[in-house]
């Protein structure tokens, strides 16, 4: 049996774009607030339903739907941080974990009430549309998702590096107390960072809904994968997340040459364990070490 390795690699690279998009938000919120956002999966799921309504019921173009969902979820994230998450910011980490887990469960149950447990999928004129490149069939949907993943990385890098708020977010992530001393309104910064994290999760959910079928339990397994990627990337770095996504997607894809596809998740979690033991700083830590030497 000869597997088409170039096709496998192209598929993996396109998948890496999706992985990165679904992990940016988690990394941003952890980086700034040191909170693991368990509600991330719920946000992806709600975003999937939101674009479902916009595309299927309102007839919106599938690639324009995120332009509506992302700002709405940004505001929702800010409000969530201001009125709910802020109250447990300085409590032991288990408080925020439980709180956000509770929010995820509430979101799930609301979806069960509103949409039932039926499996939904979005079908548009782009669904199943492919073009051939060097003999490899490339899906338009997946290519767009990949491009949006890259675009999101570039925009986030510009925002973090060039704007006052971006710099304030980075400063708060490095040292919240010092940031306060130099006059940064860290409460506001955290609010915006949380909003951005939620907006990025909603972007991922909006795009994933174009590829996968979903129900109110959607996002659970993606959340675990996102954890692996964030750790692999070095916890707080956007570039690290992008690199981590690529490494994970390629490792998973190539693993089928040696092990059964049912063990793909084993590859992810084995990588997670290895990274935590051998290079706790993740890809970015490794790159920094290599630079020094």
């Amino acid at each position: 049996m000869t597997i088409d390795i170039p096709a496998l690699l192209v598929g993996a690279i396109l998948l890496a774009g999706l992985y990165a998009t679904m992990s940016y938000g988690l990394a941003l919120i952890y980086g700034v607030m040191k909170i693991v956002n368990l509600a991330h999966a719920g946000v992806m799921m709600w975003a999937a339903y939101a674009v479902f309504v916009l595309i299927v019921n309102a007839g919106l173009n599938p690639f324009l739907a995120p332009l509506i969902t992302v700002p709405v979820f940004f505001l929702l994230g800010m409000l969530l941080q201001r009125y709910v998450v802020r109250r447990v910011m300085f409590a032991p980490p288990i408080s925020s974990l439980l709180l956000l887990f509770g929010i995820w469960l509430i979101m799930q149950n609301i979806s069960y009430l509103g949409f039932t447990g039926d499996t939904r999928a979005i079908t548009t004129k782009y669904t199943l549309m492919t073009f051939e490149f060097l003999g490899i069939a490339i899906s338009i949907n997946r290519l767009v998702v990949f491009c949006v993943g890259i675009l999101a990385l570039l925009v986030m890098r510009q925002f973090m590096g060039r704007t006052y708020m971006g710099k304030a977010i980075r400063a708060t992530a490095q040292d919240g107390d010092a940031s306060k001393l130099v006059g940064i309104n860290t409460d506001r910064v955290m609010e915006i960072a949380f909003g951005l994290g939620i907006a990025l999760a909603s972007l991922a959910g909006s795009l994933m809904a174009l590829i996968f079928a979903f129900d109110p339990d959607f996002g659970r397994s993606h959340l675990l994968k996102a954890f692996c990627i964030v750790v692999l990337g070095g916890l707080e770095s956007m570039v690290g997340v992008a690199l981590g996504s690529l490494v994970l997607a390629v490792a998973e894809a190539l693993s089928v040459l040696w092990i059964m596809p049912a063990l793909q998740d084993f590859v992810s979690f084995a990588l997670l364990v290895i990274v935590l033991i051998v290079m706790p700083g993740g890809m970015m830590g490794l790159l920094a070490k290599l630079k020094k030497t």
Partner: protein, 411 residues
């Protein structure tokens, strides 16, 4: 002395005359209580919703006719149905079945839906020795635990795979498919998927001149990436592609299958294929997919048609297999009570074990159980056609159309 003796006899007689009717009244139940915990919310809520509607429809019909005739009391006794929501959660399901038996004091139990839930809660029915019938848990492993009180109205997943392979063999006999056929086989990594794969492997082993399994892979539920799996399918150079997957995974996999421009002479996802949700999601890509199922609304028997018409009139939605087998579950239980002529749980269980019900709506029209409690009737095979149509292609006696095999290559 003689007078005292006579007086004692008289007193005893009065006492007996007083107690007997009272005892009779006390023992005569006002209603027969049937209980079930269904996944009304949570991941299985769609299927659980169908089952609930079907149970309610069947119970209403029984009560409209005065109830179930119980010979022991020489009268018809109305039926009360208690349904709880197990939220698609195994632990909750077990707790609710415990409650139904210990607090609600049900006479008999009706099943929930789905292999994991049924595997979990059937233990309760067996522990308390309460007769239990379900129409939604096909996995044969549930019934291989030597339980005596558990009965199931849908045939095993292993039999599903056998039926599919027999049908493919029939297509070979007709010259529509070559011999031997190279098969790419996949199944979700659950007892359902394992049983399906094993069923195909058994048939392939028994007929190596007909079948050659060139790829056999399990996959995890909730696939994030079907690419590696499908690249293996492509590399296997198989003639036909058989998989067992749930609705979400079937949709994700077949979308990717189409994007990768794969082609096989027969494509089947086991029991999946004809669902409206999947056809909406896949569009023309779902045309010609073969599915093997426990029931279909086009089965041309009077009982199947009657149910279809009643259900569709009552709920204004197409009758799928989920409500059909659930509806029949209630009828089978009612017949078992009536035939037993008592509410004694052991006697009802014994009647179920010996049951031979004719004119049922199930495929083949006959309900009888193997010693393990599971039915052994036929499956129907369906094929999706363009324009969201579905044709019934097997068994031949009830087929509404001839199968289109090999399936046409899509443009």
């Amino acid at each position: 002395m003689k007078r005292i003796g006579l007086l004692s006899l008289l007193c005893s007689l009065i006492l007996v005359l007083l107690i007997l009717p009272a005892a009779g009244v006390m023992a005569q139940p006002k209603e027969i209580i049937l209980g079930a915990a269904l996944p009304i919310t949570g991941g299985q809520s769609r299927e659980g919703g169908y089952v609930k509607k079907a149970y309610e429809l069947a119970i209403k019909e029984i009560n409209d006719a005065g109830g179930i005739m119980v010979k022991q009391y020489n009268k018809k006794i109305p039926v009360k149905l208690i349904i709880y929501d197990d939220k698609s959660d195994n632990t909750t399901s077990v707790q609710l079945y415990e409650k139904l038996v210990t607090e609600d004091k049900v006479n008999v139990l009706l099943g929930g839906y789905g292999t994991p839930l049924i595997t979990a809660h059937t233990v309760v029915a067996e522990k308390y020795r309460v007769p239990y019938v379900n129409g939604g848990g096909a996995t044969g492993a549930i019934y291989e635990r030597k339980m005596k009180y558990i009965f199931c109205l849908i045939a095993s997943v292993g039999k599903l795979a056998h039926t599919l392979m027999d049908w493919i063999g029939g297509q070979q006999n007709e010259g529509n498919l070559k011999k031997p056929l190279r098969i790419a086989l996949m199944g979700e990594n659950t007892s359902h998927g394992k049983e399906f794969r094993q069923g195909v492997l058994d048939k392939a082993k028994a007929a190596p001149d007909r079948f050659q399994v060139v790829m056999d892979e399990p996959f995890e539920l909730n696939l994030k990436d079907a690419d590696p799996l499908l690249q293996k399918v492509k590399a296997s150079n198989a003639d036909i592609y058989l998989a067992d997957a749930r609705l979400a995974d079937y949709t994700t996999m077949h979308r990717r299958y189409t994007e990768l421009r794969l082609y096989h002479q027969v494509v089947s996802y086991g029991p999946r294929g004809a669902e409206k949700a999947a056809r909406d999601a896949l569009g023309p890509a779902s045309d010609y997919i073969i599915s093997c199922n426990w029931w279909h609304r086009d089965i041309p028997t009077a009982s199947a048609r009657t149910f279809r018409d009643k259900y569709e009139k009552a709920y204004n939605e197409p009758a799928e297999w989920f409500p059909a087998t659930a509806y029949e579950t209630v009828r089978v239980m009612a017949k078992a009570i009536e035939d037993a002529g008592t509410l004694d749980k052991t006697k009802i269980r014994d009647t179920l074990a010996k049951m031979d019900m004719k004119n049922s709506l199930v495929v083949g029209g006959r309900v009888w159980f193997k010693p393990n409690g599971q039915i052994e009737n036929d499956y129907v095979i369906l094929q999706n056609l363009p324009g969201e149509k579905v044709s019934l292609i097997y068994p031949k006696e009830i087929a509404t159309a001839k199968a289109i095999v090999p399936i046409p290559k899509k443009q």
